[in-house]
């Protein structure tokens, strides 16, 4: 089977794809006989499709807004998590492609791993490649992994990411126990305001209703709006930014959603190998919202970690 390659010109519109995505996700709408084809009408297999954005430039105003929302210093290089939001509309375009077996709404983000090959200047022109792999069995459903690669003008891959998402339902395989809460002492408390989801929605384009208001989150089973997982990750990476080497991987596992507004704790500790473990935890209960690690590139094991079906559960 050959990979179908589709080139997107410029930044694809998030709203076009996402609007349809939500229409198909809402129980009422999806049961209506609509004349348009909604995502989720595919064959059940993930499409062998690769989306490319040949030219991606950094808008400094957008970058500054992103840095502010996430707590990064505005620098001459991109924050390690920034390309996640630039890739987001491409992910949506991929998942709302007619061949995709289901829409993006309702997918649970399990894991996001970034390989930061080198600092990327705000002036660099990049190209993006996005594709998907899966579906892999999971006790609660099936998982898929969105792959993103950002390359510099000379073709060198300077940044890549893997996001593992869970499609609930039809689970199989053994129930895997979640890893223990990380042994990272919390050192900082963040007050996360009720509009955090809306603020991140503005800079990321991810206007999934579960992040916006309590009322819009309820139909999807959340008592209150929840923070974007990728915001929580970005905030954590921002807290570590002064200690990040030039080349590293930062891998996080999303555990409990962060219900807004709230107070969360953040802590990190670095071991003898230079690997920094960090966690965002419930400030009262101590249970983990997010656990992650930063591994300097030099000290990385030669065999790259493979995406496990149970979404990065590490023992």
């Amino acid at each position: 089977m050959t990979t179908r390659i589709k080139e997107l010109d410029g930044a694809p519109s998030v709203l076009a794809g996402y609007g349809r995505a939500f229409a198909s996700a809402l129980p009422l709408v999806s049961s209506l006989p609509l004349p348009v084809s909604l995502p989720g009408g595919g064959s059940g297999e993930l499409p062998d499709l690769e989306l490319r954005v040949p030219s991606l430039k950094t808008d400094l105003t957008h970058l500054a807004d992103y840095a502010k929302v996430c707590g990064f210093t505005l620098r001459d290089t991109l924050p390690a998590t920034y390309l996640n939001v630039r890739a987001f509309p491409v992910h949506i375009a991929l998942m709302t492609d007619g061949d995709f077996p289901f829409g993006p709404v309702g997918l649970v983000h399990l894991r996001n791993a970034i390989r930061h090959v080198r600092p990327v200047s705000v002036r660099e022109e990049l190209s993006l490649r996005v594709w998907v792999t899966g579906l892999d069995p999971h006790p609660k459903g099936r998982t898929l992994t969105l792959h993103t690669e950002a390359a510099a003008a000379d073709g060198e891959v300077v940044w890549s990411a893997e996001s593992t998402m869970l499609k609930l339902g039809g689970g199989s395989g053994e129930r895997v126990e979640r890893g223990a809460d990380p042994d990272v002492p919390a050192s900082v408390t963040w007050t996360v305001p009720g509009d955090q989801g809306r603020r991140y929605a503005t800079v990321s384009g991810d206007r999934n209703p579960i992040h916006l208001y309590g009322l819009t989150a309820k139909p999807f089973g959340f008592p209150r709006a929840i923070a974007h997982g990728l915001w929580t990750k970005a905030r954590a990476v921002a807290a570590l930014e002064a200690r990040l080497p030039d080349a590293f991987t930062v891998d996080v596992e999303f555990r409990k959603p962060v219900l807004l507004p709230t107070r969360v704790s953040f802590g990190s500790s670095t071991d003898a190998q230079g690997v920094t473990a960090f966690a965002v935890t419930d400030a009262r209960k101590g249970s983990a919202h997010l656990v992650g690690s930063v591994t300097p590139a030099k000290k990385q094991r030669t065999s790259r970690r493979t995406t496990t079906a149970n979404g990065g559960t590490t023992a």
Binding site: L60, T61, L63, A64, D65, A67, T73, L74, R75, D76, S121, V122, R123, E241, A242, R243
Partner: protein
């Protein structure tokens, strides 16, 4: 206990290109810019993870939340988080005064190395609420009951909502700095033509410095800028002559061209003891020999607001037994072309030198070809607190490249103050 004074080495500097107000750095905060300047210095001198003696910097326009700006900045850089830091503020003298403070501690052996710097943004300026509203908000915060709070809120008047915008204005005279300088310039008979000539030369000299690669290890690009945004290599006396006066009324001689524009930027300079430099194999560009600060009474007295350097320099020269002509280069900060020219005229004036400085003879003229040889604030722009760091690093490097020499640095500041200093270099020997 007596302490032998140590020589203080200037090892280099780093700054970000200066931007015009509300332009390339409109979204950047003081902390962002100072972090960029510091991190650039850290990577240039391989200081990652190093604990420095201290970092001293400041900003003239500062948000109240930035009370610990320099320390917060240090924690955003790759320096060891155990590096202490503090903020200072002496208007446009901030950067040079910071360098003198760090240098003095190095000379006394209290620290071995340190960074001095400064940053300013006129784009992300701190707006304050007016005094009436501020007092009311404090009352509101202290109110215990809803009833009390409502009572306080009932006192809000629409006029209170207008924010207090920081102005480039002397609190005691209500005059802008430009208006002050227009009076001083008129007193010294500074002409439009000589101001425009000085301005054009500043642009040409800075452009030439970029062209010959002089700035390559002094400036790190930031947010799309690689050179100072205000720099106009094709500036000319003819073009400058077309501008309308902005200070001193319709007959004024000061224009937007021969006055520095509001700008954003940050600069930092690395100072150390000779031993510290030697241990790391870092060449000593120059030594920071001494400094002097003066102030003048521009309110009750009749001295010009920006004339304090005219007093500081002779005091410093006398201490060292030097004359004004004993310098290879002169770095006189160009707040306004008129300020530089007024200062030079004062030193040449027998009456001023006798009556104001108590000297039997004038300090005399300087060789103008040695003045601001790599351009100064008229071309680069002048983010107030960042200017000192820019000048110290560039002057030290210039002396080093010349194979040695002596530089005079002079910076005028709001509040009738002036900070001056001397650098000496043996070149690469």
């Amino acid at each position: 206990m007596t302490t032998e004074l140590r020589k203080v080495a200037v090892l280099g500097g780093n700054r970000i290109p200066f931007a015009r107000s509300n332009s390339a750095y409109a979204a950047a905060s003081n902390q962002d810019m100072l972090t960029a300047a510091l991190d650039g210095l850290v990577s240039r001198f391989a200081l990652e993870g190093e604990r420095l003696g201290e970092v001293v910097a400041g900003a003239v326009l500062k948000h109240s939340r930035d009370f610990n700006l320099t320390r917060e900045t240090v924690m955003s850089t790759r320096l060891d988080a155990a590096t202490p830091a503090y903020d200072i503020q002496q208007a446009c003298g901030t950067g040079l005064q910071a360098a003198l403070l760090v240098a003095n501690k190095i000379a006394l052996g209290q620290i071995d190395c340190g960074v001095a710097g400064g940053v300013d943004t006129t784009s992300d300026a701190p707006l304050a609420v007016g005094d009436d509203l501020r007092k009311l908000l404090i009352k509101l915060n202290n109110a215990r009951s809803t009833g009390d709070r409502l009572k306080v809120l009932a006192g809000v008047r629409p006029g209170m909502i207008v924010p207090a915008i920081p102005r480039n204005e002397e609190p005691r005279t209500g005059l802008s700095m430009g208006e002050h300088q227009a009076r001083t310039g008129a007193r010294w008979g500074v002409t439009r033509a000589e101001q425009d000539e000085l301005t054009a030369r500043s642009h040409h000299n800075l452009a030439a410095a970029y062209e010959r690669g002089f700035q390559a290890d002094l400036v790190t690009p930031f947010l799309g800028l690689e050179r100072d945004q205000n720099l106009r290599p094709d500036s000319s006396v003819e073009k400058l002559a077309k501008l309308k006066p902005v200070f001193g009324g319709p007959q004024g001689t000061m224009t937007a061209g021969n006055s520095t524009p509001l700008s954003d930027g940050a600069a930092a300079v690395l100072l150390a003891s000779e031993e510290w430099a030697q241990e790391r194999g870092l060449p000593v560009l120059a030594h920071l020999v001494t400094g002097e600060t003066a102030a003048v009474d521009y309110v009750g007295g009749d001295e010009g607001l920006l004339m304090a350097p005219a007093y500081a320099v002779p005091r410093m020269l006398d201490r060292l037994g030097l004359t004004l002509q004993d310098f290879d280069i002169y770095e006189i900060h160009e707040a306004f072309a008129s300020q530089v020219l007024s200062t030079l005229k004062a030193w040449e004036d027998a009456v001023f030198c006798q009556e104001r400085l108590g000297r039997s003879a004038p300090l005399g003229a300087i060789d103008r070809s040695r003045l601001n040889v790599n351009g100064s604030s008229l071309a680069a722009g002048h983010p107030f607190a960042a200017t000192g760091g820019r000048i110290v690093a560039a002057a030290a490097k210039e002396l080093y490249e010349r194979g040695g020499g002596r530089a005079l640095i002079s910076i005028c500041a709001a509040g009738g103050q002036g900070v001056v200093a001397i650098l000496e270099s043996n070149g690469s020997n």
